[in-house]
Symmetry: none
Amino acid sequence: MIEFRLDRSSGLPPYLQLVTQVQEAIRMGWLRAGDRLPTVREVVTSATVNANTVAKAYRELALIGLVEARPGAGTFVCGSLGTADAATMARLRGRLVRWVEASRAAGLEDDDVRALLNSVLTGLDSSTGVA
Amino acid sequence: MIEFRLDRSSGLPPYLQLVTQVQEAIRMGWLRAGDRLPTVREVVTSATVNANTVAKAYRELALIGLVEARPGAGTFVCGSLGTADAATMARLRGRLVRWVEASRAAGLEDDDVRALLNSVLTGLDSSTGVA
Amino acid sequence: MIEFRLDRSSGLPPYLQLVTQVQEAIRMGWLRAGDRLPTVREVVTSATVNANTVAKAYRELALIGLVEARPGAGTFVCGSLGTADAATMARLRGRLVRWVEASRAAGLEDDDVRALLNSVLTGLDSSTGVA
Amino acid sequence: MIEFRLDRSSGLPPYLQLVTQVQEAIRMGWLRAGDRLPTVREVVTSATVNANTVAKAYRELALIGLVEARPGAGTFVCGSLGTADAATMARLRGRLVRWVEASRAAGLEDDDVRALLNSVLTGLDSSTGVA
DNA sequence: GTGGTCTAGACCACC
DNA sequence: GTGGTCTAGACCACT
């Protein structure tokens, strides 16, 4: 069962954090079609957030088609966000874990690591500057 | 000179996106103490954003102490976000670039890549589930 | 400018009525890309509905991609629901108007007319019954 | 015997869909006074809906006076929703069928067709806009 | 002034 | 018990 963690200081709206975490869990294969999400009321108590906020997140996931709400029964995963096969994912994850360890050993904080990945993904290069 | 990019659909408030981008540029070494940020007016035209929004972002950066506004002259970087030395950074970046290439070759989207890094940074593992 | 009409006794949630009416207006060509929807607060006063309800409807339209919300500016149509060309639509509408007139002359109420269309669209036939 | 079809994504509460379908069947002449509705249990199995939901729909129909529950025997149609005589109805239906065929040939979807009828019934005209 | 989000609490529909 | 909607009112971000 997925467990939500809300970062109140991130600036990202709580309901979007919930949406993102479900998407990531599906991406990572932690949630699969048929799995049940925690009930709105469970999230309310575990994440100290308002029921409407959770409902909004679930509804948005339902609109995207990732999730299906069955009143009286719960909310169930019904879509997928395709990544690679399990073996490939494990290999990539292993390489990434080692790279993160090296980065941390070099003194990088998590935010530095994220910034670095961000710059690589957006094609920004240290030689050209930012443009 | 840093060039800002706003993602209207990210959910993150524009002014926070500006703040983040300056921080990342400093982290990456693209901006150093003494460098001038673009004027509010320049950002307004290049990023189609309201002047108040840019001013708010600069004010926030000044509060953190990363930036200093010199009336009449502009806004200048005056702090740093320590990472590693240039050589180490280049090496780490090189490894990361190759890893990203491998990930993309395996069919991963940018969001998949970010989710994967996120899960590694937060210590979440595919074997343990989400907790 | 579209004007909303809410039917409190229809059983359809008010926010869905708003969504539907915008969709229909776009379908009919009454609203086109670039047109502005009434502000949330305008709808609140004209349709005696809560601001959150209107916001929910607008947000749903934005998620579908039919509409774009520009904070501080308003909500604007940015998608289309393709029907036929204007001439064809006018011809079809003309035939339908005459058919409706004939139906009403025969004593049919609006609900009868809708039921008839419904049965034709769903392929139900008077000879086979309902199955 | 009427066969119910529930559209889970329509936003209309299931019990109201059942009510509407009985009304439409009566309007169309598929159900007449004395006809028996399927038992609650039959509907439950055929339409994958909860018994309470069916019971609620039947109760609603009884309140309107369209239906009568005879304990131990079943639920029977006992009212009518007057339309025209059979011959007129057949003629109108025939014209409508041809019109729908023309509309579909022109590329209209069912929702387009419904929107068009709606606009004609409510007296909205493409020339006057929406008011 | 614009839309967006969050909270609170109520009621409904469904299982 | 489940999710869904509506209301009310507050605060935020943006133009």
